[in-house]
C-alpha cells in the first residue's frame, strides 16, 4: 500500500497577469518507509509542493488535485481535519532552523506543544519527558538540561536536530524535510543526513526530501523527482537519474555539481533564463492558465 500518493497536484496563484501555476499536475508516490527526493532549483515549486501536501500553501493560492495519505484524501479537508494530520501524521522540517524556531520559547516548550497538540490531556510532565527523549533520539547530549535552553543557545546543526526532534516527537508516518541541510556547513550537513537515514531505518517513517543539492538526495533517497518551473520533468530511481538522465535539464543539474577535479572556469547558469521572473516563465510554458 502506498504511504503518500499525490495525483495531479496543482497550486495556482492569482496574479495581475492571470493565474500562475507554482506547481502543475504533479504526481508523487512514496511507499511506507521509503525516501523520495524532490530536486530542482529555486522557484521550481518544490517547497510549494511540500507546503501544499500539508495544506499550508499561502491563503491566496488554490490547491487542486489529490493528496492521499494511506487511504485518506487530504485535499478538501476542513482546517480542523487538516490540523489533525499536520504535525501528527505528517511532520515537517524546514530550511532555516534559527528562524523556524520561536526565539521566545525554550526548545522544550516548542517540542512539548507539538506533542500535546495531538495528545489532548497530556500532562506537562509527560510531555516534557517526551521532549527530552526526542532530543536524546537526535543525539543531543545532556538533553535533560538542554531542553530548557532557547534556540539561540544552540548551534546551527543542533538547532536542526531540535527541529527534527520536534517533528519526530509525534511519531509521524511521513516526514517532509525542506532543504534541511542548506543552511548548514558541510560536515554538519553530513551528520544531519546520517541522522535522517538512521531515523528512517529505526522508525520506518517515510521521508520526502526536498533539495537543490543532488549530492544530498543521492545519499539519502531511493527515488528522485526532478522539478522545473512547477512541473516534473523527470522521475526514477536514483541510479538511473544519475547514470542515464533523460531530460536535458537533469543533465544540466548534474553538470552543475562542482567537482574537485574540474578545471576552474566561469560559473554557468543551469539553463539560460531559468531564473527569470515568473511571468516570463509561464509564457514559456504556454500560458499555464
Amino acid at each position: 500500500m502506498t504511504l503518500l500518493q499525490v495525483r495531479d497536484l496543482t497550486v495556482t496563484f492569482p496574479t495581475p497577469r492571470g493565474p500562475l501555476d507554482a506547481v502543475r499536475s504533479l504526481d508523487l508516490d512514496l511507499e511506507p518507509g521509503g525516501a523520495l527526493g524532490i530536486v530542482g532549483e529555486s522557484g521550481s515549486g518544490k517547497s510549494m509542493t511540500s507546503l501544499a501536501i500539508m495544506g499550508l500553501q499561502p491563503r491566496a493560492a488554490q490547491r487542486t488535485g489529490s493528496v492521499r495519505l494511506h487511504d485518506q484524501e487530504l485535499v478538501g479537508l476542513s482546517e480542523a481535519e487538516l490540523r489533525r494530520v499536520r504535525g501528527d501524521r505528517i511532520a515537517m522540517v524546514f530550511q532555516d532552523p534559527l528562524s523556524s524556531l520561536n526565539p521566545y520559547y525554550t526548545v522544550g516548550l516548542q517540542i512539548e506543544e507539538a506533542y500535546r497538540a495531538h495528545r489532548p490531556g497530556t500532562t506537562r510532565r509527560v510531555a516534557r519527558r517526551v521532549a527530552v527523549e526526542a532530543l536524546e533520539r537526535v543525539h543531543i547530549r545532556d538533553a535533560a538540561r538542554r531542553v530548557d535552553h532557547y534556540p539561540h543557545q544552540f548551534s546551527g546543526g543542533m538547532r536542526q536536530r531540535v527541529m527534527i526532534a520536534m517533528a519526530l516527537s509525534t511519531e509521524p508516518e511521513l516526514l517532509i524535510a525542506d532543504e534541511p541541510t542548506t543552511a548548514l556547513d558541510v560536515t554538519v550537513q553530513a551528520q544531519i543526513l546520517d541522522l535522517l537515514q538512521e531515523i528512517r531505518r529505526e522508525t520506518g517513517t517515510g521521508l520526502v526530501l526536498i533539495t537543490h543539492d543532488l549530492a544530498v538526495v543521492s545519499e539519502v533517497t531511493d527515488h528522485i523527482v526532478v522539478m522545473k518551473d512547477g512541473v516534473c520533468v523527470e522521475r526514477g530511481p536514483v541510479e538511473q537519474i544519475f547514470t542515464d538522465p533523460r531530460h536535458a535539464y537533469t543533465q544540466a543539474l548534474l553538470d552543475a555539481v562542482p567537482r574537485i577535479d574540474d578545471e576552474i572556469g566561469e560559473l554557468r547558469a543551469v539553463t539560460p533564463g531559468a531564473a527569470g521572473d515568473v511571468g516570463q516563465r509561464n509564457e514559456q510554458n504556454g500560458g499555464a492558465a
Binding site: L56, G87, F94, S99, P103, T106
Partner: protein, 330 residues
C-alpha cells in the same frame, strides 16, 4: 544586582550629568542677567552686586556648575552670614519669579501631571493594542481600512485643536463635563474622572493612533515569520498560534516605545496642560519660558531627562524578562 544593570545605571548618570551641563550652559549663555531680573524696578548697582554674590554669579562657569550639581545631591547655601539661605538637597535653586524652591514647585505639581500621563497611557495602550490587533486580524477588510483611515485622521489633528473642540462640544454645548480642574481622587472619584477625562483623551489620541499602526505592522510582520509557519505545521490551532507565537514577539518592541513615551510624559504634558489650564509640571514649564524663569526651566528639563533615563533602564530590565535573547549570561 546583575552587572548590566550597574552599567546601565552608571551610563544613565553620565547622561544626566551631560543633560545638566548643557542645560546649565544654555542657562549661562542665554540668560539676561538674573540679578537684574530679581532686583526689580527700584534697583541700585550695589543691590545687584549683592544678589550676584548671593547666587554665586560672580564665580567662573565651572565653579557655578559644580555648585549646582553638588546642590542637587547635597544641598547648598546661598549667601553668607545672617542673610544666608539654606537650600536642602535636592536643591534646584529658586524661581526668579516667586522665589519658591524649584524642587518644591515641581513636587507640588507632579501628581497632577502623573495623573494625566497615567490615565492617557492606559487609554492609548488599550485603544492602540485593540485597534492594531483588530486591524491585523481583519487585514484588508473594510474594518482594517476604516481603522487605518481613523488613525491617519487622528494623527493629523493637532491636540490643541482637539482640546478646544472637545471643550466646546462637551463642556460648553452639551454641558456633560466641567472645565477641567485638578481634583484629587481622594476628594471625589467621580469628579476626578470627569475633570481628567478630557485631558486624557486629548493626550491619548495621537499616541493611540501611532500605537495602532505599530501594533498592526508588528503583528503582520511576525505572522510572516518562519516560526509561525512551523507552529501551523505542528498542527496548532490558529488562536494558539496567534496567542503564543505571534503576540509576544509582536508586542515586545512596543514595550520599549511605551516606556519612553510614558516616561517623557510623566514630567508634564506641556500642550495639554496649557490648553486646559491645568496646573501641572508642563504648564509650569510653559509659563516659566514665557517669563524667562531659568531655574524652573532647568529644573523641569532635568526632571524630564531623569524620567527618560529611568524609563530606559526600566525598559531594559523588563526586556530581559520578556526576550530570552537579551538575557546576558543567562
Amino acid at each position: 544586582m546583575p552587572r548590566f544593570l550597574i552599567t546601565r545605571v552608571a551610563s544613565g548618570l553620565g547622561v544626566l550629568l551631560l543633560v545638566c551641563l548643557f542645560t546649565y550652559l544654555i542657562f549661562f549663555a542665554l540668560s539676561p542677567d538674573p540679578a537684574v531680573q530679581i532686583c526689580g524696578k527700584n534697583c541700585t548697582p550695589e543691590v545687584i552686586d549683592q544678589i550676584r554674590g548671593n547666587l554665586g554669579l560672580d564665580q567662573p562657569f565651572w565653579t557655578q556648575f559644580f555648585h549646582f550639581v553638588v546642590g542637587i545631591f547635597a544641598g547648598r547655601t546661598y549667601g553668607e552670614g545672617a542673610g544666608a539661605v539654606e537650600c536642602a538637597a535636592p536643591c534646584l535653586g529658586y524661581s526668579f519669579q516667586s522665589s519658591q524652591a524649584v524642587w518644591d514647585m515641581i513636587i507640588q505639581r507632579l501628581p497632577v501631571s502623573a495623573t494625566i500621563a497615567v490615565g492617557a497611557a492606559v487609554l492609548w495602550l488599550l485603544a492602540g493594542l485593540a485597534g492594531g490587533l483588530l486591524s491585523a486580524v481583519k487585514e484588508g477588510t473594510f474594518l482594517d481600512r476604516f481603522t487605518t483611515g481613523l488613525t491617519l485622521t487622528s494623527m493629523s489633528i493637532p491636540n490643541y485643536v482637539l482640546a478646544l473642540v472637545l471643550q466646546y462640544v462637551l463642556v460648553v454645548k452639551l454641558q456633560w463635563l466641567p472645565f477641567p480642574q485638578a481634583v484629587a481622587f481622594a476628594d471625589d472619584p467621580g469628579q476626578w474622572f470627569a475633570n481628567f477625562v478630557m485631558p486624557w483623551i486629548v493626550l491619548a489620541v495621537g499616541y493611540a493612533a501611532a500605537y495602532t499602526r505599530l501594533t498592526r505592522a508588528n503583528v503582520l510582520d511576525v505572522l510572516r515569520e518562519n516560526y509561525v509557519r512551523t507552529a501551523y505545521a505542528k498542527g496548532l490551532a490558529q488562536p494558539l498560534v496567534w496567542r503564543r507565537h505571534a503576540l509576544r514577539p509582536a508586542l515586545t518592541p512596543i514595550v520599549t516605545i511605551f516606556g519612553m513615551d510614558f516616561a517623557g510624559l510623566l514630567g508634564g504634558a506641556l500642550i495639554t496642560e496649557t490648553v486646559f489650564g491645568i496646573n501641572g509640571v508642563g504648564k509650569m514649564a510653559a509659563d516659566s519660558i514665557a517669563r524667562n524663569d531659568q531655574p524652573v526651566i532647568m529644573g523641569v528639563t532635568l526632571l524630564a531627562g531623569f524620567l527618560v533615563v529611568v524609563g530606559n533602564i526600566v525598559v531594559d530590565v523588563v526586556y530581559t524578562a520578556i526576550d530570552p535573547r537579551v538575557r546576558v549570561n543567562a
